[in-house]
């Protein structure tokens, strides 16, 4: 429990203690407040960054610095506020966390923030895929970092973005 990144922990508490309508509104607020992709990433919204498991076009960009801090950007259409809201929660909750912390985030995050209750069981499955994808990207970047000297690793991970 305590390994959860503090920002994500705070969001989980807020959403977890909200009632149904508050939770809907919070999720919409998150969806509306997702920061735009940095310009240098926006050009790379291609299949390689698209989450296959998700029904709406979701793009993820994960970078891990040589000191294992996760940098994370994402984009999803406002017409799919559920997915966009969840992605925004992850961006806010995971940015600045360590790679280890991200990998330790429980697979039950979607349940812990109370999304099945407002979305229904069928709709939350795609969201699990987003978290899975982020963890896989972080793990891949960590391996890349360990195998190469810090500067080369940083360059490698930015080239593969």
């Amino acid at each position: 429990m305590s390994t959860m990144p503090p920002a994500l922990e705070a969001i989980t508490k807020e959403l977890g203690s909200a009632d149904r309508q508050e939770r809907i509104e919070l999720l919409i607020d998150f969806a509306k407040s997702l920061p735009p992709l940095p310009e240098e990433l926006a050009a790379f919204k291609d299949a390689a960054h698209r989450v296959e498991e998700c029904q709406s076009p979701v793009y993820l960009f994960v970078r891990v610095s040589p000191d294992q801090i996760v940098e994370f950007h994402a984009d999803a259409p406002i017409e799919a506020p559920t997915v966009r809201g969840f992605v925004a929660i992850l961006v806010e909750g995971l940015t600045g966390a360590t790679a280890q912390q991200v990998l330790a985030v429980g697979d039950d995050l979607v349940e812990r923030i109370g999304l099945p209750e407002i979305l229904g069981m069928l709709r939350v499955r795609g969201l699990h895929g987003i978290l899975r994808r982020i963890k896989a990207e972080v793990a891949r970047a960590m391996i890349a970092n360990d195998l190469a000297p810090p500067t080369a690793a940083a360059e490698h991970s930015s080239r593969t973005q």
């Binding site: 809907i24 296959e52 029904q55 069928l122």
Partner: protein
């Protein structure tokens, strides 16, 4: 002079809806894939009815009871004689699905807002985040002969064996069996890929324009009658993955084109692709 749909009254324009926003005989209903959309803004005075949370039974894979349906209508201020206009995201998939479900219970006057949510937003028509409340009604469920619009697996098997028209409205890759689900929609699993033997593949999207409105009657006839060879008095069964996309095709055939005997197989591929020992065809 353009030809009109066979039952043009079931399709209303955004202009019509705007003129009836305060009409007590009309209730606008939003039904979406993404449940948050309504709360972000909706047609003023409209109510949300969710295909999953409201219309489907949460235990059995079926629709709610007549009693529950009456409660939902009452809560939404809908009476048996209310004109209910459905609209939603994804070119009205879920709006058509909700309309089909309303027809299972025999609600008389159901219509679709042509273009759905996308058209309304793209034309910057008025939206509201206020959730209206209406005086509860004493809704009396008319009931219907559901076999007129709904079909179950045994009947579909007989239909397939008899070589009668079957429409598979999924994407081509789902039809051939290359994919078990629509691109990006892995949620509903099937153990086998392919289609019901004899089915022809007409993806649902071929019935709608890019702006979300339905294609003209000439275009629809060219597609379903000339290209596929269906006749308006054929008994046609449409299916997809869970019955939502095929509700749109059902709506097009039944109301826009006037087919007299078209049914939706809501068990669809999620049932067929998991059934033991039913025949499956693969490839195009």
């Amino acid at each position: 002079m353009a030809e009109s749909y066979v039952h043009p009254e079931v399709l209303v324009s955004a202009e019509w809806v705007q003129a009836h926003l305060n009409d007590p005989k009309v209730r606008i209903v939003e039904s979406d894939e993404d449940v948050l959309l309504y709360d972000m803004g909706h047609v003023p005075g409209s109510v949300k009815i969710d295909w999953q949370g409201d219309l489907q039974d949460q235990l059995t894979r079926d629709y709610i009871t007549a009693e529950k349906f009456a409660q939902i209508c009452s809560r939404a201020g809908i009476s048996a004689d209310t004109t209910v206009v459905f609209y939603g995201d994804k070119s009205n998939w879920w709006a058509c699905y909700a309309l089909w479900a309303f027809k299972l219970f025999g609600h008389k006057d159901c219509r679709i807002l042509n273009g759905g949510r996308k058209f309304w937003y793209d034309h910057k028509l008025p939206i509201s985040t206020e959730v209206p409340s209406y005086a509860p009604t004493d809704y009396k469920v008319a009931g219907s002969d559901e076999s007129e619009i709904r079909v179950f697996r045994d009947a579909v098997l007989a239909h397939s064996k008899a070589g009668l028209p079957l429409l598979d409205v999924r994407s081509p890759k789902e039809f051939t069996g290359e994919k078990l689900h629509m691109e990006e929609y892995p949620q509903e699993g099937s153990l086998r890929g392919g289609h019901i033997p004899g089915a022809k593949n007409v993806p649902w999207g071929r019935s709608v324009n890019d702006d979300g409105t339905f294609k003209s009657i000439e275009e629809l006839k060219a597609l379903y009658q000339d290209e596929i060879g269906l006749k308006p008095n054929d008994t046609v069964v449409a299916y997809c993955r869970i019955g939502e996309r095929s509700s749109l095709t059902w709506f097009v055939l039944k109301y826009l084109m006037g087919f007299t005997n078209v049914k939706n197989y809501d068990g669809s591929w999620c049932e067929w692709g998991n059934l033991v020992r039913v025949p499956i065809a693969k490839g195009a």
